[in-house]
Amino acid sequence: MAKIELDDVHLTFKVHQQKRVSFKEYIVRGLFRRGASAVAVHALAGLNLDVRDGDRLGIIGHNGAGKSTLLKLIAGIYPPTGGKRDVLGSICSLFDISLGFEPEASGWDNITYRAYLQGESPASLKGKIDAIAEFTELGDFLDLPVRHYSAGMLMRLAFSIATAIEPEILLVDEVLAVGDLAFQKKAQTRMKELMSTARIMVLVAHDLGTIRAMCNRAVWLEHGVAKMAGPTEKVVEAYIASVTGKPARAAA
């Protein structure tokens, strides 16, 4: 049984002018009594979400609305600064494709590292590694260090590993756009397969076609607030109407 429950969740970032200070600067600033110039960014405000087994949730919104932040919060990377987060089930996240690779290690080694990162053991991986390598279609490239890979190749590698592990919750953040057409088709098929076994998927995408094809529910985020949530078609239509300025159809 997998579920994602967010209860009035808030997430505020305090963005400092300088990311990392040294002791010297800290002391000097203190001596001259300059106020710490920090800006508070209210990334997510009052979010309520209830996702259960079998749901495929799409998150749409403008750039900077908080979609990726929401995904990271669900994954447990950002702890909420207010409200409650309750997530049950093994999570696999596909965020920035270049993250989490060891650039000096080969493709094969990176498969093992990422698999272990997702909680696999050598025994359970042994049976799967050939299937994973086959799905990537990278062939001999797997012997090279991954710093030589293109973005698309990295994405294939990451996606293959993530979906071979059969997570209960799959979180995908706009990565699929990088793959070529053949791989996008393949990925969609794989995700549909996953949906029959694994439980929940949360997808962030700008391509509304993908959202329509893959998701049964959608959330429209605007400046950190959930403007609308419900069945995919309704939310997507409302979003398009607001962006293109065409009058919305007779609203329900």
Partner: protein, 270 residues
């Protein structure tokens, strides 16, 4: 804290794989391999032995060399764990942004790598000691390495490992907020190196009345736990063992406290 430890156990394969990768990368491009990175302590020891053995070593070269080698191995471990360990969170930022693993897994990665490297140095030191003692003087029961000593240093090794991990964790968190922590640690390490009886015998300090420096020095505590059984063939005294355990507990408490305080915030600063 127990939660963290169980989570680390759960992801132990990930940890092993990364430690192995680190070792492979470290020794990868060198012809001598492992030997290359031991060159530093061995070279330092030779220089000190040649130059200082009469001044600081009381003329007893074999004993001075053994003292130096073991001291350098242990010191190297503690110093490198602290200095490289404090970069752990920044260096592993990409994993932190992908997966909610406990942060002290990343410091453990560094400390494990250093531990393996220093164990090799220690083994070389002990072998060197045995060879040099057997070759130069009449080996008596007193000067030969007591094989039981290898058992007696185990508590010392375990305590220094845990202490190094705790120190690395604490400084790793602080380094995210204040980036010059690493440089300050390097400077402090230089100072502590000369205040600790590594290149000279403890008796040098005692005879000059700087006995307080010896007892107050935490590094000296771990050094004693490991060096004394190997050099003198005697088990570490209960007092020192208890002091070591107490110090390690304090350091662990400090690390646990820092983790609990900062773990929910540090990701926003990376």
């Amino acid at each position: 804290m127990i939660q963290h430890l169980t989570a680390i156990w759960k992801f132990r394969h990930f940890l092993y794989a990364l430690v192995r990768l680190d070792l492979r990368l470290r020794y990868r491009r060198s012809i001598l391999g492992v030997g290359w990175s031991l060159l530093n302590p061995i070279a330092m020891t030779l220089v000190f032995a040649v130059v200082f053995s009469s001044l600081l070593g009381g003329g007893d070269v074999p004993r001075y060399v053994s003292h130096l080698l073991i001291g350098m191995a242990v010191w190297g471990f503690l110093r490198e764990s602290a200095v490289s360990g404090c970069r752990a969170l920044i260096a592993n930022e990409s994993y932190i942004r992908q997966s909610p693993l406990p942060y002290n897994l990343y410091t453990l990665r560094t400390v494990c790598g250093q531990a393996i490297h220093s164990m090799i140095a220690l083994v070389v030191a002990v072998l060197g000691m045995v060879i040099v003692t057997a070759a130069t003087s009449q080996p008596t029961a007193q000067t030969m390495l007591n094989p039981l000593a290898l058992l007696w240093i185990v508590p010392g090794l375990i305590l220094s490992f845990i202490a190094a991990w705790a120190v690395a964790t604490t400084f790793a968190f602080i380094n995210v907020y204040f980036q010059d922590t690493q440089h300050l640690l390097e400077v402090a390490a230089q100072v502590v190196f000369f205040m600790t009886p590594i290149i000279y015998f403890p008796s040098n300090l005692e005879s000059k009345g700087y006995w307080l420096l010896l007892t107050m020095n935490p590094v000296n505590l771990f050094l004693d736990l490991i060096r004394t059984p190997l050099m003198n063939g005697q088990p570490p005294s209960e007092q020192i063992l208890l002091a070591g355990a107490a110090l390690t507990t304090v350091l662990v408490r400090l690390a646990a406290g820092t983790t609990a305080w900062l773990q929910k915030r540090v990701v926003f600063h990376l």
